[in-house]
């Protein structure tokens, strides 16, 4: 007997379904009330104060959006490996700074800022830029101006520069050479600033035009006690909050000539002796991939801490210390069941903490009580962002 191949059987089955559909038009006669359906596409809301954005992690595409209140996924923003995402302050767009190659892992390199509609998550356009840094786990390599009109993309080729992008006209404007500096800081009304290897802060005024660069006096030890790049920025106070490997806290009032405070010790703010750079000096140190998160309305800085020695700055956090930046006091400590690699806090009135590790285990806590709200498997293993305080 001649037997049918799998392909032939499949074709017959498909035709049978088609004939059945023609012979028996859709009717609402199913005894269980199940109606025939059509495929459609969800439209989501613009960013909400409880939303978090979690990069999938090393070697994986995508940035997942989670509602921190429900713990549910809202959708995924397309973002290629080693990309950076920024959120339009008005909530209309998601911008992804990324690099792709014409033949996948080879061919012509293409660098761009890709623009997505925040409701449909559909691609709107691509803005070509000349270059950008390839690195993971950073939030300060792509920032926007406070009005959302300009994008600043850090480039390292390996010369340091910043690409200025006009997000209204959706055009690249110019590249500004910024030797020895990185980690971009918003500076509304001026342009942007950056931290530098000589311990200064560089400020770039009029970055869309003449781009005049000035430097502060040296204020931190860039090689001996560096400032973590994933620092915090408070838009209402126009203030940046920095933390060093040993736990020194600096604040900087941004402006044409930023005013940088004298530092104080995070450990001292918790009742301990200040941490040092000396070997064999075991104590609480800040660390992990994304060690700090800042809740602007309360002025509280959430810091992942671990016990260790100096130069353990990538160790995951076993506790969260909550620092009241203004009063210089650690007001709460939250012990974690599992060490965390990244921390972010939502900007609403009842803030939530989002944590994850490098195995993608996500955890949402009440930021005031530390109470566990949700666990999310495979939440994403990369850097976390919170929706801006809309």
């Amino acid at each position: 007997m001649k037997s049918f191949s799998i392909w032939q059987r499949g074709m017959v089955a498909a035709l049978a379904v088609g004939v059945a559909a023609i012979g028996f038009p859709a009717q609402a006669t199913d005894p269980h009330g199940l109606e025939p359906e059509e495929s459609d596409i969800v439209t989501i809301e613009t960013p909400k104060p409880d939303w978090f954005y979690v990069r999938a992690g090393w070697g994986i595409d995508g940035t997942a959006i989670y509602d921190g209140r429900s713990g549910k996924m809202i959708g995924i923003v397309n973002s290629s490996q080693l990309s950076d995402m920024a959120i339009d302050p008005a909530g209309r767009f998601y911008y992804v700074s990324e690099s792709i190659w014409s033949k996948g892992n080879r061919g012509a390199r293409q660098d761009m800022v890709t623009v997505y509609d925040s409701k449909t998550l559909k691609l709107l356009t691509e803005i070509t830029i000349p270059d950008r840094i390839l690195v993971d786990e950073r939030k300060q390599n792509f920032i926007l101006s406070d009005d959302g009109k300009w994008g600043y993309v850090y480039s390292f080729s390996p010369a340091s520069a910043v690409n200025v992008v006009d997000l209204t006209k959706r055009k690249f404007v110019q590249a500004i050479e910024l030797p020895g500096c990185a980690a971009l800081i918003p500076n509304p009304g001026v342009g942007f600033s950056a931290l530098c290897s000589d311990g200064t802060m560089a400020t770039v005024a009029a970055p869309t035009g003449k781009a005049e660069i000035t430097h502060s006096a040296p204020f931190f030890a860039a090689s001996d006690d560096p400032i973590f790049e994933n620092f915090a920025y408070d838009p209402a106070k126009n203030m940046a909050v920095f933390l060093t490997y040993t736990g020194l806290v600096y604040t900087a009032k941004m402006g044409a000539a930023p005013t940088i405070s004298q530092p104080y010790s995070l450990q001292e703010a918790a009742g301990y002796a200040p941490a040092t750079t000396k070997p064999l000096s075991v104590g609480w140190y800040p660390g992990s991939r994304q060690p700090t998160a800042y809740h602007a309305a309360s002025g509280e800085l959430f810091i992942l801490m671990h016990m260790g020695e100096y130069w353990s700055h990538k160790a995951f956090g076993d506790e969260i210390w909550v620092l009241d930046v203004a009063s210089r006091k650690v007001v709460r400590r939250i012990a974690l069941k599992e060490p965390a690699a990244h921390i972010e806090v939502s900007q609403g009135a009842d803030p939530l903490i989002f944590l994850n590790d490098e195995k993608s285990a996500g955890l949402i806590l009440d930021a005031k009580t530390g109470e566990e709200k949700h666990r999310i498997e495979m939440a994403g293993a990369g850097v976390i962002s919170a929706a801006p305080g809309l």
Partner: protein, 181 residues
């Protein structure tokens, strides 16, 4: 406490520059001349520091105290004091060899690591091998004197596949450049 001096940083850059530039170029000649410069007694302070490198356990980092010199497929091998990535030694390559079909980056980040056999510090160039998918073997992330991107030559997070056919990261090597003291 000052752990790392600027002389050492400058020397690292110049050694790297000298090692990867055409011998006939002016840049190379200038680089070689400057690499030699730290050998000359310029400042009494520098001489004093160089004469007394503290290699006591109390002066060593946690990594240096626990480093070994026999197995370069383990994260605690002494040269890996500031490496981040997959060890090429576990990926078909070696401590200074890229696996077949991949290509070493001509530039790199650097570390200063202490050899437990003689207690001396050496300059290590962590050159990425590029042009193949990430080798998912022997991932290490050691952080002695590892800083942030504003000091890029001491940052081990950057994809250092510059000047190669492909910028795809494959694995990392730890090439001995020379003594650091």
């Amino acid at each position: 406490m000052k752990i790392f001096d600027t002389d050492a940083i400058g020397e690292k850059w110049l050694r790297k520059l000298a090692g990867h530039t055409s011998r006939r170029s002016m840049v190379s000649r200038l680089g070689l001349a400057l690499v030699a410069a730290p050998a000359f007694p310029l400042l009494p302070v520098s001489r004093a520091e160089a004469a007394k490198p503290d290699r006591s356990p109390e002066a060593k980092t946690a990594f240096a105290r626990n480093a070994q010199s026999s197995d370069d497929t383990e994260c605690n091998y002494w040269r890996y004091c500031a490496i981040d990535g997959a060890l090429c030694s576990c990926c078909g390559g070696g401590i200074h060899s890229c696996p077949a079909g991949s290509e070493p980056s001509p530039v790199s980040w650097v570390g200063t690591c202490i050899n437990p056999d003689n207690g001396k510090a050496y300059l290590i160039a962590y050159r990425d091998c590029c042009g193949k998918p990430t080798c998912n073997q022997c991932f290490c992330d050691n952080t002695d004197r590892q800083t942030q991107i504003y000091t890029p030559q001491l940052n081990n997070d950057i994809i250092w596949c510059f000047g190669t056919q492909s910028m795809q990261y494959h694995c990392s090597t730890a090439v001995l450049v020379g003594g650091a003291e």
